[in-house]
Amino acid sequence: MFSVRIQEAPFDAAAEVARLAQGRTDVGGIVTFTGLCRADAGADGAGLKALTLEHYPGMAEEEIERHVAEARARWPLLGAIVVHRHGRLVPGDPIVFVATASAHRAAAFAAAEFLMDWLKTSAPFWKKEERADGADAGGWVEAKASDDAAADRWARD
């Protein structure tokens, strides 16, 4: 079961995981990552009131599908699910969910981390912050060098 979805609605992580393992007995390990909106996510440490995620419809799905295909080429995956939300989210809200299934844990861990690292740097999503203090209403989150470095770990020359 391989699936990529972009949606505004919350997701049910347990239901997604159930889809990976249901009715099969060859899955030995399932890794999930859930990314959440943090209250202190702002660049200057000031409180965050909300994030609005803009995305490029069509390309977002296609780009993540390409990541999933690349992950399947690198590791023996039995399933993978990616759900990415868009729209307005407040601290504590889940933003992104990645789940990978494999016979063995190492492949599931590596593929989940690979998908997240790639998502961060090449999935066409952009975050705009609303600050709790109202001081800077409308700052676009800047890309982090640490995310580029994380994605570069997987580069193949």
Binding site: Y56, H84, F125, W126, K127, W140, A143, D147
Partner: protein, 83 residues
């Protein structure tokens, strides 16, 4: 040719998308960005720091020297901050 703008590029241009017909000498993504920047102040502001602007041709990431030949949809946007 359809042009899409996202995030602060969209805000600076003041449009989410537009149809343009650049002249034949506009052959690459970099050419197109320069040509668009020359259209008006809003576009100039959007592309003022061209080095940070990313592009996709028909929904695939490309480098500034990518050819526009046969392309239907060009998107310009800042570095991605999803996940």
């Amino acid at each position: 040719m359809k042009i899409l703008y996202f995030a602060w590029l969209r805000e600076r241009v003041g449009l989410a998308e537009e149809e343009v017909a650049p002249p034949a000498e506009v052959a690459t993504v970099a050419d197109l960005a320069r040509w668009l920047a020359g259209r008006d102040e809003a576009h100039a502001y959007a592309f003022e720091n061209a080095a940070v602007v990313r592009a996709a041709l028909d929904r695939r990431h490309v480098k500034p020297d990518a050819s526009l030949a046969g392309v239907r949809e060009v998107a310009f946007f800042p570095p991605m901050t999803g996940g």
